[in-house]
Every structure is written in C-alpha cells, then in structure tokens.
C-alpha cells in the first residue's frame, strides 16, 4: 500500500485518545484538562494541532475510558476526542 500514516504514537500499550484542543487554550487550561482526564500527552502536536493522549499505568478500563473521552468532549476547549485502535490498526 502507499503511504498512510497516523501521527506516530510513542507508546504501543494502553488505550490512546486522539485530541484536538482549541487553539487559544492556555498551558494552564491544557494542564487542567489533562489532569481531569487522568491523561498525559504522548505525541503531538502535529501541524494540524493534533495530540495523542495516553493514560498513566495500564490505563483506564474500557468503560472508564469512554467516560473520560466523554468528559474531554464536554469541554469547550476540546474540539475532537476519539479513541484509537478501533479496527485492524497496524499502527
């Protein structure tokens, strides 16, 4: 196949979430969102301001992950939040 590559994640283990924050978000605001979600940045931003988030340790259980993604989406400073690895993802 030809080229098709995602923003490269740093970690292979544990759930990951792709996120785009509002461009005007302050560092303090970003830190608060990450703290609330129990997440940390493992990659990004790309040119399109895309981040990949991971979770400390083994990461939250599936149900908990969905809740944390829902919490991210509820923030007006988060424009995009989607889990990774939903399909046959060779990444």
């Amino acid at each position: 196949m030809s080229r098709s590559r995602p923003p490269a994640p740093s970690y292979r283990e544990g759930p990951r979430v792709r996120v785009v924050f509002r461009a005007a978000l302050s560092v303090e605001g970003l830190g608060a969102i990450l703290h609330q979600a129990g997440a940390h940045i493992i990659d990004g931003p790309t040119d399109a301001n895309v981040y990949t988030l991971g979770f400390a340790g083994a990461g939250p259980a599936p149900g908990v992950l969905e809740q944390r993604i829902a919490a991210l989406r509820a923030s007006s400073d988060v424009l995009f939040a989607e889990p990774l690895g939903a399909g046959n993802d060779p990444r």
């Binding site: 196949m1 030809s2 080229r3 098709s4 590559r5 995602p6 923003p7 792709r18 785009v20 790309t46 040119d47 399109a48 301001n49 895309v50 424009l79 995009f80 989607e82 889990p83 990774l84 939903a86 399909g87 046959n88 993802d89 060779p90």
Partner: protein, 431 residues
C-alpha cells in the same frame, strides 16, 4: 402613446429600492414604505411636466459649491396636476421628486384596491396631464447569492482540506450524485454511521472473513475521505458525499506497516470494477510495474473509467499504477512533488473515518488520492464524458497556492476546475 419613463428615473428608483447608492445630497422624496419594496404590483410611476427654473437655495443668497445651480423645485402647476390625478383616479401619492434633467415631476402612486394595474396604466396613458406612466418594476442585482454552506457535521471545521481544495464552494454545484467509485483497497467498515447508504456493493478477493473486512482501517479511511455523509449531524463531510462506493477488498493488513496486496487480488478487483462499470477506480496503493494490471487498467480506461492512483513513497521505486498514462497520479501537496504530471492534494493530518464508528487523522498520498477521486466525482457528475487527459489538464490548471497547517502548498482547486469544466459561472467561496 406616452413615452416610456426615462432610464434616469428608473435608475434612481432602483437606487432607492436597493438603498445602495451613495448620494452627495439627499433625494427630495419620501421614504418608500416596506410594502412597496416587498411587492411593487400595487404601484405605478407617473411623470408630469414640470417646467420649474432652477433657483438659488434662499432668495438673496449667493449660490456656491455643489448647489451653485440651485435646487430644482416642483411647480404649482405640477403639484395641482398630481392632486387632480389622485382625485380623478383614486390614486395615493407614496413618494415623489422632481427630475431636473428631464424637467418632469416623478410620482409613485399606490393604486386603489379595486383597480387593475394594467387598466389604470391604459387610462392614464390617454390622460393629457400625464407625461409618462409605467409599472413600478422590480430589478435585482446580477450577482448570484451564495449562501454559506454550514455543514452540521461537528468535525467539519477540522477538515482543513475542505478549504484548501475549495470543496465547500464546489459542493454548491456538485456533490458527485450518480457517480460510482470503486475503492480497491482493504475492506472497510460499511456500517460506519458516516458511510450510511454510501457503500452499495462489496467484494472480498482476499478471504471470506466478513468481520475482518468491516474492521479494516485503510479502506475505511479512504472511503470516508471520498464519500462520508454530509449534513447528517455527525462526524465529517466527504469530498463527494452523494457518490456511491463499491468496496473491493484486494489488500489486507499485516502486523506492522502498510497493508499489502498482490497482482492476483488486484487483478480480480480491477476486473470487478470494470464489469461493474464504475465511473472512477481509486487505488491508494503503489507497487512495481505489473503487466497484467496495466492491461486491465488500459481496458477500463478504454471503456471510459477514470483511474486515480497514489504516488509511492519517495525513493521506494514503486510508482505503479500511478505512473500509467491512464491513471491520474496524486501526491501529497505538503511534500511538494517536483513531477509536473502529479496532481497535488493535502495529505497530512487528514481527518477521516476509522472502523467502529470512530474518527482519526491520517497522512499519506493514499488520502490525497482519495480526495482527488472525490473531486473527479464532482466533475464527472457535471461533465460525464471528460477523459483522463481532460481531467488532468483541468485539475492542473486549477491548481493554486493556499495556506495550510503545514505552510503554503500548491493544491488543486475543485471549484475552479468545475468552473472551467462547465465553461462558465463563477466560483465564490462561502462566507
């Protein structure tokens, strides 16, 4: 027979109606009521002779400046005639002003409720007091309003390629309706909510594993770029959201790295696309030159099918089938291909679909090729008989430099290409 009302009077009336003229001094007329602006059918425009001489602003004053010639007033005779016309015909003056240039007094009358406008005009035409009479005509400006396309898909604002490729403007003319695009790729999630109703057929030339077919990533990404449903309140917008997908699985994911395919599976998929009379075949893949596949592409092109292929990685030496004359070769605009035959579209951080109803950003010429297939669908929906050579020429000549998250890029402009293909019209970006 009365003369038609002179153009100057009409022009100024239009200015009044459109409220778009900048005047150096105010017109000596009353404001036009909203009902006359909304519906002119109950109104007529009449002129009567008005031989007033220009006079200074005030008796004894010294005229100067723009008003040096004095104001042109309404004579007592003209005023009396207007009052008489109102009385005799049941008319009601709405607004009036003396036209110095024509030496007439111009009045907008409202008709009595019982009167038909044509009848009233006929009667007034024969009245010696009336210099001219005509309907209050409606005019319009000649720019076509372009209502902004406000997709209700929540992630559309993150699809920077929509702006870079002028897709919003292009989709005001075409959304690819009636086009069938064969996606020769991995399988894809044809149950993805943002592909609902878009995948009309699917075949698997790799195995019989339907579940894996639906979980395949690459084909889902490519198909989402091409045909994700627009304005469904979820996710993203496809480049050609009204086009239909025929999913032909010829490639499969491996443990790491890109998905792979071979001559045999690809040949079967090509044959299936040709037999299905697909309008477009998207091949977001690259490999070594392959005689069998080249023959099939040539056969499909002779039948009128348009092939779109992704340019392989720089230095890989794999540029087949994109290198074929019958294939539109597409590369990432951000990588700045030096090959003048390559068409360029954004390929970095392209937001698209992934299996199980989710979304993600992906990069590569695979995505750029998918964007181009969508644009070709927009063009073919308008001009179905365009050839590969004509499309290549249209798309190359439409290309322009645009800002992108990665900096300035050269990319095709779908709206300009559509305009050129239709030999007319205008291309305006939604505001």
């Amino acid at each position: 027979m009365k003369r038609a009302l002179p153009t100057a009077c009409l022009g100024l009336l239009v200015c009044l109606l459109a409220s778009s003229c900048t005047l150096t001094r105010p017109l000596q007329a009353n404001p036009i009521p909203p009902q006359a602006r909304a519906d002119g059918a109950r109104y007529i425009v009449v002129t009567v002779k008005n031989d007033a001489r220009a006079q200074a602003e005030r008796p004894g004053s010294t005229p100067r400046g723009y008003d040096a010639a004095g104001r042109y007033g309404v004579t007592a005779s003209a005023s009396a005639q207007v009052r008489a016309l109102e009385r005799d015909y049941g008319l009601r003056e709405i607004s009036a002003w003396p036209i110095a240039t024509l030496r007439v007094h111009c009045i907008m009358f409202e008709l009595p409720l019982s009167a038909a406008r044509a009848t009233m005009i006929a009667r007034l035409t024969n009245d010696q007091r009336v210099e001219s009479v005509q309907p209050l005509n409606q005019f319009s400006t000649e720019s076509t309003p372009q209502p902004p396309l406000t997709y209700n898909d929540p992630y559309a604002k993150l699809q920077t390629a929509l702006r870079e490729l002028a897709i919003e403007a292009a989709q005001q003319r075409s959304r690819g309706a009636g086009m069938q695009i064969a996606v020769i790729d991995t399988g894809l999630d044809f149950d993805h909510p943002d592909l609902k109703g878009r995948v009309v057929d699917h075949h698997n030339f790799v195995d019989a594993d339907e579940a894996t077919f639906r979980r395949d990533l690459h084909g889902t990404e490519v198909s989402g770029v091409i045909a994700a449903v627009a304005d469904n309140g979820i996710g993203i917008v496809g480049i050609a959201p009204d086009a239909r997908i025929i999913a032909l699985k010829a490639c499969w994911h491996v443990a790491a790295g890109p998905a792979v395919c071979n001559s045999f599976t690809l040949a079967q998929a090509l044959e299936a696309a040709i037999v299905a009379h697909a309008d477009i075949v998207n091949m977001s893949l690259a490999g070594p030159p392959d005689p069998l596949l080249a023959r099939l592409v040539a056969q499909g092109a002779a039948q009128g099918t348009i092939f779109v292929g992704a340019v392989g990685r720089a230095g890989s030496g794999n540029s087949f089938p994109a290198e074929l004359d019958e294939v539109l070769a597409v590369d990432c605009a951000e990588d700045g291909s030096a090959n003048p035959h390559h068409l360029l579209a954004p390929g970095h951080d392209v937001l698209t679909l992934v299996p199980n109803g989710h979304y993600d950003f992906a990069s590569g010429s695979s995505l750029a090729a998918a964007e181009m297939s969508g644009i070709v669908a927009l063009l073919l929906a308008e001009r179905p008989h365009l050839t590969t050579a004509e499309l290549r020429d249209l798309l190359q000549h439409s290309s322009r430099r645009v800002d992108s998250p990665a900096g300035e890029i050269l990319a095709v402009d779908a709206c300009r290409a559509l305009t050129a293909a239709r030999a007319g019209g205008r291309c305006e970006q939604p505001r």
